[in-house]
Point group: C2
Chain length 370, copies 2
Amino acid sequence: MKIVCSKSNLLQGVNIVSKAVPSKTTMSILECILIDATSNEIKLIANDMELGIETIIEGDIEDRGIIAIDAKIFSEIVRKLPDNEVTIEVDDNFKTIISCEKSKFNIAGKSGEDFSYLPYIEKNYFISVSQFALKETIRQTIFSTAMNDNNKLMTGELFEINSNTLKMVSLDGHRISIRKIELKDHYDQKKVVVPGKTLVELSKILSGEMDDMVNMFFTENHIVFEFDKTTVVSRLIEGEYFKIDQMLSSDYETKVKINKKEFLNCIDRATLLVKEGDKKPIIINITDGNMELKINSALGSMNENIDIEKIGKDIIIGFNPKFLIDALRVIDEEEINIYLVNSKAPCFIRDDEEKYIYLILPVNFNAINN
Amino acid sequence: MKIVCSKSNLLQGVNIVSKAVPSKTTMSILECILIDATSNEIKLIANDMELGIETIIEGDIEDRGIIAIDAKIFSEIVRKLPDNEVTIEVDDNFKTIISCEKSKFNIAGKSGEDFSYLPYIEKNYFISVSQFALKETIRQTIFSTAMNDNNKLMTGELFEINSNTLKMVSLDGHRISIRKIELKDHYDQKKVVVPGKTLVELSKILSGEMDDMVNMFFTENHIVFEFDKTTVVSRLIEGEYFKIDQMLSSDYETKVKINKKEFLNCIDRATLLVKEGDKKPIIINITDGNMELKINSALGSMNENIDIEKIGKDIIIGFNPKFLIDALRVIDEEEINIYLVNSKAPCFIRDDEEKYIYLILPVNFNAINN
């Protein structure tokens, strides 16, 4: 094999597919990036069996062939090469020479034979969204997926397509995040659960531009994202997702309108006094025109007042401050509405059109002690 | 005690003195910042017994007093306060209330009685340098102090004053770094060894401006740096520093003129193939007009050629690439001169006026195997 391409193209490609290289694995072939120059295009591929990424880079194929190279060493070499034409040459023993200007690296590659190619996907049904919308919506929902594997479904996000709406939902047992993307076309109904890890890695390589599109294809077991010259294939999580509709309610006893930034900064300050792992609730006391926030810990106490607009009953309610912070950080609106029922029922932060809904369960607290 | 000052002044002061708060200690009073408002000035002080820092912040003293507050929690609170007037109020039980706008923190302070004040220093003899020069020179020499305590003197830097020159020297047994600062006045001879840790922390709070000055005072056991409204007091390291003059020599067999950036980038690339802790030398083969660099490791091999100007004999010599990188990174010149004697003698990188000298010992290698 012999290929020639620019350092910048090569680096971009390597950075993209590296997202599918597992950090720990017992199969050393999975730690490799495959360079496939057997046809007319130079393809880079990485695949950890759950998530696979393939991207096409521009360049010349002087001699067709295929080689698997350790992803870590390969990406480090490419990153540090001078900004010029790079030649990659492989002999019959998989000895790989990477040269650029007067610099020449000699490393051992591996046969491409053992490499797992991306599964073949029949591309019938697909929907199209902007890279910007998908990247943003992942950021605005991913934080409430569950970290541990106790319930596999909680580690993923629901993608629910309904006519011209894509709804993305994540939940971890303490809170639910729901965001809707309006689609340009109308599509058939579809419900799949996409692994959180796939979305984290995907959002790193999406451009974030309004005008760049992503096509999403669905099969029984896989979801495929196609954009630019890149294809991302991920397994889906099997099983039926939680029935969230019955957890949502539009009834409320108290409605609060508050400046988001003031609210967020105040909670942020309050959490200074809480050591990591220490489950101290922030106590919120809502009266006419005023919200008082209080926190007590072994380190000391903090209280602060914020001007609000209130409709309905007074209420005292406690929350895990982290859950409030996570939700407030991803809301772009300056003013937000919070809907409360009582100190034991979930609170809802949502806009009038329900483009976003953040449900957070309160924490039990002893009002007398706080 | 009751004081009022702006958040920005307070934060700046806290950031400065925090550099003298030990990360680990068994004496909890050392983890505190002392606020001393017993006189007409608000002083912040921290002291780990080796290094002490005091700084004066602007503000109003409404009620004189003194309090010690845990440095970590105090600096976190101050950092997150709104950008406005901050009031710190302490009652007789050391209960401390920090308030700003509608935010109010309540934490437990400590009596200032147990706090170790900075030692009193008689300020007779001092020299003056710009903050820029001192900060730069620390950066350009600190990396070759020894990390471990086996030889205490190697963990510090020699400050040698001779007429109108301040020479700063560090060495770790494998290399020596020497930089000279020209002083505006002539001073008496003086030789002290300053702890590396002091210099690291000091350089973080020096402004780096040409026009800002630092005064350095010397006593038997201490060095004091005075600048802006800050005083840094450090113990000196006892003992006689190494006689470096006899290690320096101006004889050479080979002189090489090379582009610094090309040389540095090339070594940087070569070290990709060296895992941390793996002691692989870089082999440098110098012939007329050309330097070839080679490295071999379990991961592969790399070689590269650089155009040079050479005077004298051809030579093959091996180095620990890290030592070359460390020295090259802190040299600002575009072109540098390297002086070599033979493959077992140290190489010197120095300018003609000897404002800087970097001596690096070579590594034994088997030329046939490489």
